[in-house]
């Protein structure tokens, strides 16, 4: 066994011995670093988002104000969280449309529990657990019964939206515990509210923490590795011993739970719970858009949580900037659609470059 197999450079191993990883020559470092960045999955959307932000910042003085930053956050943080869950499933080659339904349902469940004299925190936690259970149901129908996840979650989307309308009698209610400075409520309630959405940076912190955790999960743990494996080659992953069902069902549960978190954060932030399925459906589509713009393919096998965060930021900046610019709201979805198509073209092109290069 003296010669080599297929490496193209027969037996002559580099001087450092074959056990050494070959390093890129130092002189090429700056350019290769830029190239590496540009063809990273997130690279192009980061550049586009920075350019868009610069454009609005230079043309609209109001865009860079603190108050606008605060106004921007709700346009961005909730979608970042939802898109993170969606990315996990899209890497699996699945999709979860029911996040819209969960987003709508979770606050009402929380409301019902809280009005049934369950303390606020347990009520929230029970609601999160119920959302995880919805994910389990999605996963069961998809992985055990064998229904395509698009169909499964379309079913649960409508079911949950219908269920929400039934239990709410289509009436708007006030989110329990959302009064920051209510006279009757003590400091504990306001602490609760500021943690669960009402604090200025609450949603942003939730989003950053969740994205950071999921990024680590995806890139540094077995869970992430198996998620990619299942999406890239489901049969091969199963043959290698990956527990495919467990991996996909677990991701469905995470995705649903994140949708429940966003639903409750948003209801506490706005201090009202509104049974509006059409709004929830738009939020669902925005979340998928954020994931796609961020560089996650629907085909499975690859995706990025950081990209989803930046994709959500891009959507937020676009919406906010256009609003300040006084652009007719009718144009918003026109631009959004164009942005998705453009992002996909860039993704496909960059993907080709990436496969041709030495960058992993």
């Amino acid at each position: 066994m003296s010669s080599t197999i297929g490496s193209g450079t027969p037996a002559a191993a580099p001087a450092g011995g074959p056990a050494q990883e070959r390093e890129t020559p130092r002189s090429a470092a700056p350019w290769s670093l830029i190239k590496r960045f540009l063809i990273a999955r997130e690279g192009s959307i980061i550049v586009v988002t920075v350019l868009l932000t610069l454009y609005f910042a230079l043309t609209l003085p109001a865009f860079v104000s603190t108050s606008n930053l605060h106004a921007l956050l709700p346009y961005f943080a909730p979608f970042a969280i939802l898109a993170t869950g969606e990315v996990l499933l899209m890497i699996n080659g699945e999709i979860d449309l029911s996040v819209g339904g969960v987003y709508l349902f979770a606050p009402y469940l929380y409301y019902e529990l809280a009005t049934a004299h369950i303390a606020l925190l347990p009520a929230v936690l029970i609601s999160f657990a119920a959302c995880a259970l919805i994910g389990l149901v999605n996963g069961f129908f998809t992985m055990v019964v064998g229904i395509n996840s698009f169909i499964t979650t379309l079913g649960t989307l409508f079911t949950l939206e219908g269920l929400t309308l039934i239990i709410s009698h289509a009436l708007q209610v006030t989110a329990p515990g959302s009064q920051l400075s209510g006279a009757a409520s003590g400091t504990q309630v306001s602490t609760f509210a500021s943690v669960f959405g009402a604090g200025t940076y609450s949603e942003l912190i939730w989003a950053l923490v969740i994205v950071a955790i999921m990024q680590i999960v995806l890139t540094r743990t077995r869970w992430g590795l198996h998620t990619i494996a299942v999406g890239s080659n489901r049969l091969g992953a199963a043959e290698a011993g990956v527990r495919v069902r467990l991996v996909v069902i677990r991701n469905f549960m995470v995705c649903s739970t994140l949708a429940g978190i966003v639903g409750i954060l948003e209801s506490v932030r706005t201090s009202s719970i509104t049974p509006d399925p059409s709004g929830a459906n738009l939020i669902l589509l925005d979340a998928i858009a954020a994931a796609v713009i961020g560089g996650t393919l629907l085909a499975g096998g690859s995706g990025t949580v950081i990209g989803a965060l930046v994709g959500a930021l891009f959507l937020g900046v676009l919406q906010d900037g256009l609003a300040i610019k006084g652009v007719n709201a009718n144009y918003l979805y026109f631009y959004l659609g164009a942005a998705i198509l453009l992002a996909m073209v860039i993704n496909v092109y960059v993907g080709r470059v990436r496969r041709g290069s030495g960058v992993g």
Binding site: I5, P18, E21, W223, S302, G360
Partner: protein
């Protein structure tokens, strides 16, 4: 099972011995209306290389997938080193010392070389759940060097590698798994002559070391006679031949296949004749 036998068919009973590491008895497996295995029994001795032959669709891969825990048999039993053996999963079989190199390689295109090599056996910074990539890279490099495969980088996705390189990674993954029994489903399928020779050389070396026992599916009879101690041939879902390679020849193995082909043709002709008889009544 005897009532299903075709006249003129031979079923070889396993001649089991005390040093069998693996014994498989009366395995049957169907997929809906398709019967892959009717009644397969075989045994594998310590340090032995058993060649598994048979026509396309004879059920060789199915048998491998049952032994490695990927599929469950409909009937029949298995013993591993004298103990009843019924793997619950691929992972379970692996922990019992049975590993496999699949025909389709089971490589994940999006994952890197070392991630593929350690898929489901990942090194981690326990008790933390984080992957120990450095350790995996180091051990993957060592394993690949050991078997003479020199790849410049292990942190590139395997999708960039050639067919032969991918095949050799799949083989390395199996060989380097601390298994006692290795199942190889056409390990030379995607390889050129030179690369194939290296894998056969590796198998010869492993055989010489004597710790690993192997069942190998091969299509090339010359390779079989060269690398295997013994051959089993599956015909129509049963083992129709069990001989040491020294006692058989390319001619004999070919004859069995040709004979099988003849019988299949006769059956097809009989079928056609029966249909021809039935046809006029339908036509009127």
């Amino acid at each position: 099972m005897a009532d299903q036998l075709v006249p003129g068919e031979v079923i070889v009973a396993p001649t089991s011995a005390a040093d069998d590491v693996l014994r498989v008895e009366h395995i049957a497996k169907s997929f809906g209306p398709v019967t892959a295995l009717r009644d397969v029994s075989l045994h594998l001795k310590q340090g032995e290389v058993l060649g598994l032959l048979g026509d396309n669709g004879a059920g060789k891969s199915t048998l491998i997938k049952i032994i490695c825990g990927f599929q469950k048999q409909d009937a029949g039993n298995m013993w591993l080193k004298g103990k009843p053996y019924q793997p619950k999963s691929v992972d379970n079989a692996r922990s019992l010392g049975v590993d496999v190199v699949y025909q389709d390689l089971a490589l994940i295109d999006e994952l890197t070389v070392y991630q593929n090599m350690f898929l489901c056996r990942e090194a981690r910074h326990l008790p933390l759940p984080f992957l120990d990539s450095r350790k995996m890279k180091r051990e993957a490099r060592k394993a690949l060097n050991d078997i003479g495969i020199n790849l410049p980088r292990l942190d590139v996705p395997v999708t960039r590698l050639s067919g032969g390189q991918r095949q050799s990674i799949a083989v390395a993954r199996g060989v380097y798994s601390d298994a006692d029994i290795l199942l190889l489903d056409e390990p030379l399928a995607a390889m050129g002559a030179k690369e194939g020779a290296q894998i056969l050389e590796l198998i010869a070396r492993l055989k010489q070391e004597g710790e690993l026992s192997m069942i190998m599916i091969l299509h090339n009879y010359v390779h079989v006679l060269e690398s295997c101690d013994r051959v089993n041939m599956i015909v129509d879902g049963v083992i129709a031949l069990d001989k040491p390679t020294a006692d058989t020849s390319v001619d004999e193995l070919t004859e069995i296949v040709v004979d099988e082909y003849r019988r299949a043709r006769l059956a097809a002709q009989a079928d056609e004749a029966a249909r021809a008889v039935a046809a006029p009544s339908v036509g009127d």
